[in-house]
C-alpha cells in the first residue's frame, strides 16, 4: 500500500477568519497560529506543492482579497482526483478516441488523475522555487493544454465550493463574493433588494442543515 503523504500548510494562510466588507475591502480579523498537517489522498507531497503554487498564480491573494492557497484549493483538487471523478467513473471512455471540434469537448483517453500526473512535470521540477513572474511564464506556455484548463477550472471550484469538499476553507471564497451559501429560503427577500446588495453571513450546507453532509468523493471510491 502506498504510504500516505502529508503536506504542511500554515494555519494562518488557510482560511484565516476574514470579513469582507460591502465596500469590497477584505479585512483579516484574526488568524490561527502554527501549521496544519493535511493528509493527501492522491498527490505526492511534491506534486501538492506544485499545485499549491500553480493555483496561487491562477487565483492569487492580492489587494482584492484572498487566493487559492488560503481557500485550500489544492486540498479540493486532491480529493476530487482521489474520488470517482478522478478515475472517470462517470465519463464515457470507450475507444476510438478521435479529436474533434471544441463543441465535442474533451475527447482524450486520459482520466483527470492521468492528466494531472502527466501535466505537473511540464511545469518543471523547480516550479515551486521560481518567482511569480517566472511561474506565470511556465503556466502561459501550457495554457492551451487540457491539463491547464482542468487546473484553472478546479482552482475556481476549490475557491468557491462548499467547504465539505476541502476548498473554500473558512468560507473564505464566499465571504469574498458576498455569497450567503445554499440558504433554504429567500422568499421574504425576493423583490425587496432590487439593485441593493443582500449579503447575509455565509453558511455552509452542513451549517444550514444542522448536520454534516457527505460529499460524493467521501461516499464513493474512485
Amino acid at each position: 500500500m502506498k504510504r500516505r503523504e502529508f503536506i504542511e500548510l500554515s494555519a494562518n494562510s488557510l482560511g484565516g477568519l476574514l470579513i469582507y466588507s460591502l465596500a469590497g475591502e477584505p479585512i483579516v480579523v484574526s488568524a490561527q497560529q502554527g501549521k496544519v498537517k493535511v493528509p493527501l489522498r492522491f498527490f505526492t507531497r511534491r506534486e501538492a506543492q506544485v499545485i499549491v503554487a500553480a493555483c496561487e498564480r491562477i487565483f492569487p491573494a492580492d489587494d482584492s482579497g484572498p487566493g487559492a492557497t488560503q481557500a485550500g484549493a489544492m486540498v479540493y483538487i486532491d480529493r476530487q482526483l482521489a474520488g470517482p471523478y478522478g478515475s472517470d467513473k462517470y465519463r464515457y471512455t470507450k475507444p476510438p478516441f478521435v479529436e474533434s471540434l471544441p463543441a465535442h469537448g474533451y475527447q482524450g483517453k486520459e482520466n483527470p488523475r492521468e492528466t494531472y500526473r502527466a501535466g505537473i512535470p511540464q511545469l518543471g521540477a523547480d516550479f515551486v522555487a521560481l518567482d511569480g513572474a517566472r511561474q506565470d511564464e511556465r503556466l502561459r506556455a501550457i495554457e492551451k493544454t487540457h491539463f491547464f484548463q482542468l487546473l484553472r477550472q478546479h482552482t475556481i471550484e476549490g475557491m468557491f465550493c462548499d467547504p465539505m469538499h476541502g476548498g473554500n476553507a473558512g468560507l473564505i471564497g464566499w465571504q469574498m463574493l458576498g455569497y450567503p451559501g445554499p440558504q433554504m429560503s429567500y422568499r421574504a427577500q425576493m423583490g425587496q433588494y432590487n439593485g441593493v446588495p443582500y449579503r447575509p453571513k455565509p453558511q455552509s450546507l452542513g451549517q444550514i442543515l444542522g448536520y454534516p453532509v457527505k460529499p460524493w468523493e467521501d461516499e464513493e471510491k474512485g
Partner: protein
Amino acid sequence: MKTLAPVDVVIVGGGWGGMVMAKEIASRTPLSVLVLERGGPFRGVGSYGKEMDEVDTYIRKRWAENPANETFTTRATREDHANPLRQYGELPWVGTGMGGSGDHWGATSPRLMPEALRLASHLRERWGASRLPPDIAIQDLGVTWEEIEPYYTRAEEMMGTSGKAGNLKGRKIEGGNIFEGPRSREYPNPPHAMPYAPLLFAKAAKELGYHPFPMPSSTLSQSYVNPDGIGRVGCQYCGHCSGFGCMVGAKASPNFTLLPLLESRKNFTARTHCQVRRIVHRDGKAVGVTYVDDSGRELMQPAETVVLAAWVFNNARLLMLSGIGEQYDPLTGKGTLGRNATYSVHVGLDFFLDKPQNDFMGSGGLAMGIGEFGGDLGDEGAARGAFQGGLIFAYQQGDPPVITAFGKIPKGEVQQNWGSQWKKAALKWNDRYGTFLNTGNHFAYRQNYLDLDPTYTDKWGDPLLRVTMEWTDAERKQAAFMLEKQVGIAKAMGALAIDPHPSAATGGPPLQVDQHSHGGVIMGASRETSVVNTYLQHWRMPNLWVVGGSALPQGNEHLTLTVVALAYRAADAFVERYVKQPGPLA
C-alpha cells in the same frame, strides 16, 4: 432469460410522459400498470436539501444518467465521423431516476403558439413554399388548437403553473402575453414576484413598445392544491432550481404531482434500476420488453400494451434496436423512424449592470418575457430570411449559484482568464450581470436525422444513437434577427456591456444534445410521414405508444408543457377508446 408475470401495461420511463400515462391508466382503469425506470427511486425532498451542492449536483451531475452507461454521438453531416458526448458539459443534463428530467427542469412553461401546431401549412400559406428554406421538412402536428387547449389547461392545473393570461377566450389582457393563443382559463396561480433584472427588462421593453409579461413557470408562486388534491407550498427562491430537485416540492415534478397518487394503488408498480434494452414483438404486435436489472440479470416482462416514454432520443433508439419501423434514409427520404431530429436555436446574451443582482436568489422559470417574436417574424423577418422566432426573456434562475457564475467579464476587458487582473475583473462584475435567452424555433430538415452509431456502443454492447445535424442559413438568419432584437432591449436597459452568447449565427454545428432536443419518433396525421398518430399510438403496432418530446416534428422552446398536454391527450384516447376496443385509433 427468465420471463416474469405478465402485466397489462408496461411503461418504459418514469418521467413526465410515462407518469402521466401511468397515473391516468392506473387510476381510471383496473389495468395493471408497471413503470420500468433505468435510474433510482424518488429520493424525497429531504434528500434534495442535502443535494444543494454545486459541485456534486450541478457540476458533476451526480443524479443524472451516467454517460459511461449510455450517451449519444453527434456529427454535423453524413460525411463526418460522429464523436460521443463523453462527459457532462457537452452533454448538458440527461435525466434519470423516477421523475426523469421532470425532476430537475427549470419549469418554464409556455404553450406553443396556435400556428406552431400547423407550422408547415401555416408557413406555406403565408409565404409560399418557394420562399421557405430548401430541404425543409417541417410538418403539422395533426392536432388543432381547439383539440389541445383543454389538455394544456389540464397540464397547467396539475402542475400549478404560475402566470398571467394574455388572451382569455379571445380577449387580450395587458400584463399577460397578448400574442398567445386563446386560453379557456386564467393560470391556476398568479405570477411570481420578480427580481431586479427581469423588472429592468420589462421596463425597457415597455418603453420600446413591446408587451412584457411574466413567463409562465410551473414552480408555485403560492401554496396550491391541484384538482387531484395534491397540495404543495410556494417557491422559496433558494436558487437551486434548474439542475436540482426541489427541496420543498414547489417545482412541479412527476414525483410530487403524480407519484403520490399511484403509490397506494394496487394496480401500480414501479421498478427502478431497470434498463430496458428491447421491445419484443411478434406478428406486428408488441408482446413486452426485455430489461437488465440492478444485479445484471436480463429479464423478459410480458405486457398487453407497451408505452415507450424514455428520454427524448432514446425512444427512437429503442425502436431502432428493436427493429420496429423503417429507418429514415436522408438520401431517398424513405422511412419515418429517426426523421425530423431537431434542437432549439438558442440565442442569448449577457448584459452587465452597475448594480448587484443578488442572483443567488431565484427560480428556474423566474423571468419576464416578450411575445412579439414568439412565433411569426412577419414581413421584417421574412425579408431577411427569418420566419419563426421564440419568446425573448430575461431570467434569474439563481443557479448556477456561485462557481459556474464566477468569471463573467465583458469581452476584451482582460487578456488572460487567470491571474490577478482577471480575478479583480471577475470580482468587480460578479453578481452584476444577467442573461437574456430565446430558445427558439428550429426547423426540421431532410439532412438532420437519427440512426444507430456504427462504432460506439453502450455499457451493454448496444449501438449508441447517432445524431446528424447542422445549422443552415435559415438558423443563422433567425439567430442574427433575434439577437438584434435582444441587443436593442439590453441597450434600452442601460447595460454597460453586452456579450452575445455563441449561437447558430456565430458558432459551429449543434453538436450538443440536451433537454431542448426533439423528434425521431414524430406524430402526424399520415402514416407515410410520421411514426405515431396524433394519439401517440404507433401507426403499425397499435399496442405500442410512444410518448414524449420525440413526437414533436420540429423544435421550439420549452416544450415540457406541450409534452405533458400531448401525454394527457394520449391517455384519454387510451382510457376512453383503446381499452374498450383495442386497435388503431387513426
